[in-house]
Amino acid sequence: MPDYITHDHDVLIIGAGGAGLRAAIAASAAGVKVAVISKSLLGKAHTVMAEGGIAAAMGNVDDRDSWRVHFADTMRGGQYLNNWRMAELHAKEAPDCVHELEAWGAVFDRTKDGRILQRNFGGHRYPRLAHVGDRTGLEMIRTLQDHGIHLGLDVFMEHTIVTLLKDGNRIAGAFGYDRERGRFHLFRAKAVVLATGGIGRAYSITSNSWEYTGDGHSLAYHAGASLMDMEFVQFHPTGMIWPPSVRGILVTEGVRGEGGVLRNKNGERFMFKDIPPAYVNQTADSEEEGWRYTQGDKNARRPPELLTRDHVARGIRREVQEGRGSPHGGVFLDIAWIKERIPNAAEHIKKKLPSMYHQFKQLADIDITQVPMEVGPTTHYMMGGVQVDADSQMSDVPGLFAAGECAAGLHGANRLGGNSLSDLLVFGKRAGEYAAEYAKKNPQGAVNTAELASMEKWSLQPFGREGADNPYAVQHALQGMMQDLVGIVRLESEMLQALESIQQLAAKAERVGVGGHREYNSGWHTALDLHNLLTVSEIVTRAAIERKESRGAHFRDDFPNKSDEFATFNIVVKKSPGGEPQITRETIGPMRDDLKQIIQEMK
């Protein structure tokens, strides 16, 4: 007999970061009963790590900005593989979402005339990121959390979902466990919103925490939903690289937005050497012009350090590979140099980038107001995810929605910095609204108890396996392998090797064992997360093999150029009836004429 606790809700939201909380608030406002599953404590999700800001074309700093420019920037950054309808909705609705946060108590930095201040960021033509120093994500999640706790949401902290449940074709709920006691829980729901974030834990150098094991991607895939753009994994160009224990921790793009520059060991501003054709017209042609841009000169163009993340990450990698890197295998990011240009530079840096100052001072004994930082690329963000309808965020499984990082479409081949926080708000809200609407129109689906019994059995298998493999060791091996073979620069032969390795590790994952009992047992949780990590690793690899070109975040050493043929479709992966990943090339629908015209105008 399966042993579990049953909960009944209209809408179940899996994930309590920005997207999940925004969805919960929206669903609750629509008058349905909402549950939120949080893998960690409330308010600790990866959204707190977002530093730079929320991209929204409010035009508070430069009134030439508008949703049209934001739309064009987003599409250009995504190399036109984006779902253009999502990019349109996002650009149009982001400003209202930011104002809504302010109405819920968020306190953004201000302009001189008292409006929300906006800063420059990579790939955005005008200063566009509403921010709070370099802790914007914390402000956002805390605002949503503090607003949400008064709405009567049922929040399940430190709970993890292991499978979605379906009644025939449509969603019926989810099944999981709580960390504290290790008890199983059945969440019956008419609609489910996935808002589980990314897959960063599939790589060894990452800015992501333990939670980001691709849960939503894997849950959706195994429930029969399609995943799209899974080859596009964003490596943020600037992660800390030294000392070893901090490797991967994010250094905000805001450092470059505030005037920070990248140099190789010879002191050269190497980003000037290679400016992609699509950005030549928008990029400064002298250091002087770049500096003026960061200081708000509307006639200046942005410095090449603020090119898109994919490009900057590869630029850094090239310098290191060709022997011009810093002592610990990165490059130098220098904000201290601005003391040559402005008075009280040290105070200015501490005010604009307080947590960066703090982070380097405390973790690396480096005072960033005095000396350059050493930085290198770190696994940061997953562009790919659940394929959803642009307006409603529903997947191809009826009643299953996805929003934020675990959904695909908005960012195409590469996400612009700042477009993630706005994505969470715009599409979290939409997903919550449409999920509530769906829940009102559809009855609760039936749950198959035999399925629950078998999931319970599967989940408990790691206990009591004699002489078994260590789940932490399997996770480490997978991370190292993905980093080496399916990282920033990819090669078909290496990726085929990766697939073999994934098979072997999957076999090992079936044999992992854990000691102790079910209560707050990190080893057990690691063992269960392996299933998701392996699923997404395989799909990323297969999609990356399929895309035989280089575009955005996906760079192939064996196909180093963009191909016109590959510009016309997204790669979609779905679980076949036989259980194998089935890959299709899905043609991108023709863009509406008015949107096409915007892109032409902004070229």
Partner: protein, 249 residues
Amino acid sequence: MATATFRIFRGEKGQGRFQDYPAAVAEGMVVLDAVHQIQAEQAGDMAVRWNCKAGKCGSCSAEINGMPKLMCMTRLNTLPLDKPITVEPMHAFPHLKDLVTDVSWNYTVKQRIPKFQPRKPDAPDGSWRMAQEDVDRVQEFRKCIECFLCQDVCHVLRDHQMHDQFIGPRFLVYAAALEMHPLDTADRIPQLRQDFGIGLCNITKCCTKVCPENITITDNAIIPLKERVVDRFFDPLTRFFRMFGQKEA
């Protein structure tokens, strides 16, 4: 490579003992790195909370050599490695397992504090105008990462266990952020006095000392709130006017 000994509290619901684990020490390591190493290699079922590993989420609070700290921000080179380093859970909250405590009380306290209630938008575009200098102080309070180390070290909670009468420094900071928010219209002063126990704080400033975000909890948040309470309830002039039906200050 050098090794150090970590003396970690293992057990459940307050029952348990310290157990010694050796860990290899590398340059730049923090306590959380050592705990992870031990967990991966020697104690797979050890319970520990963590998320960002960059001092931004406030999950990995613990007591290291008796001091409330974030494990992810405590570098080994700041500790004497010739002696065992003790790592134990926070003491002000019910123990669950190993390094993990039940911090749910904090979440229920927050829910009791009246939420942000903005005045009507007054700018032509339907939003508000606020000057940076008017939000600076509130922004300081909003840096809080909710690690609850201030709650852990507060003697009213830790030693006297007055969780039902006192909301603790974290939530006095939260209340201050709301009270001093330029847009907020709610009044929390009577509750601060009656329900939230602000009078129980006798400003020993232990909370300020342990705050990993360097929020000046006592001076900037608690003392101004205490002053507001005093002005409202104990100022003789105000009381005099109130007797004649004047509106409260």
